[in-house]
């Protein structure tokens, strides 16, 4: 089946991200496809370029990137939710007169329409929230 995940909790602050990643690995092991992860509400903080957890903690940003690299999972970040929380790519940052972005590929800023689309076009949407 084609799965989408909706992640609404920030990394580390709540288990939502850990739970979502664990679920992602399990559904792939069972032969499903994780096509889309949509980050909304505080979930957008998962895309922060500078996450620097202690060595004995999992690097949650790298874990998402690995899903993208190995399984082609799209990592979509709601642009409105990101802007008001300080998550901008290079282009949005310069549009707001700031140097450098706080979010990098493979995370991509996108509209909420992508969430609705994923929810209706994928076989399953599972939400992980704080």
């Amino acid at each position: 089946m084609r799965y989408a995940l909706l992640v609404q909790g920030g990394p580390y602050s709540h288990q939502a991200t850990h739970s979502a990643l664990r679920f992602a690995e399990a559904l792939i092991r069972r032969g499903h496809h994780l096509e889309t992860v949509f980050f909304y509400h505080d979930g957008v903080y998962n895309a922060a370029r500078l996450l620097a957890p202690p060595q004995d903690e999992p690097h949650l940003g790298d874990a998402w990137r690995r899903l993208h690299d190995e399984h082609g999972t799209r990592l979509q970040v709601c642009i409105a939710a990101g802007l008001r929380r300080g998550l901008l790519d290079e282009r949005e940052a310069s549009r707001h007169g700031k140097a450098g972005g706080s979010l990098e590929a493979p995370f991509e800023l996108t509209g909420l329409g992508q969430l609705v689309d994923a929810g209706l076009s994928h076989d399953r949407l599972i939400t992980f929230a704080p």
Partner: protein, 96 residues
């Protein structure tokens, strides 16, 4: 059939009541994260009437030192079982 997913402990949250209100007669409820506290014998009364439809995630029980301490009738599943539940349900709704 809908899979409802609850991640709050009945000890400090009333959100479990919202989930119960939203459940149809065949719907299932999966307790994850802090929600697994609800699977303990002292807490499971909050989920009366869900015989055979109340699940708790094994990995979250283990992490909390609570494995083997669930009330009778709670179905303990691992994360692969969680995926299976989402396959079997038409959709899922998360309560937080």
């Amino acid at each position: 059939m809908i899979l409802h997913i609850l991640n709050r402990s009945p000890l400090d949250s009333r959100v479990y009541r919202q989930a119960l209100t939203a459940m149809g007669p065949d719907d299932r409820l999966l307790l994850i994260e802090e929600g697994v506290q609800g699977a303990l014998p002292q807490m499971v009364r909050h989920f009366e009437g869900l015989d055979g439809r109340l699940f708790a995630l094994r990995e979250d029980l283990i992490a909390r030192g609570l494995e083997g301490r669930c009330a009778d009738g709670v179905l303990v599943i691992d994360v692969e079982g969680f995926v299976t539940l989402t396959e079997e349900a038409d959709k899922s709704v998360s309560w937080f």
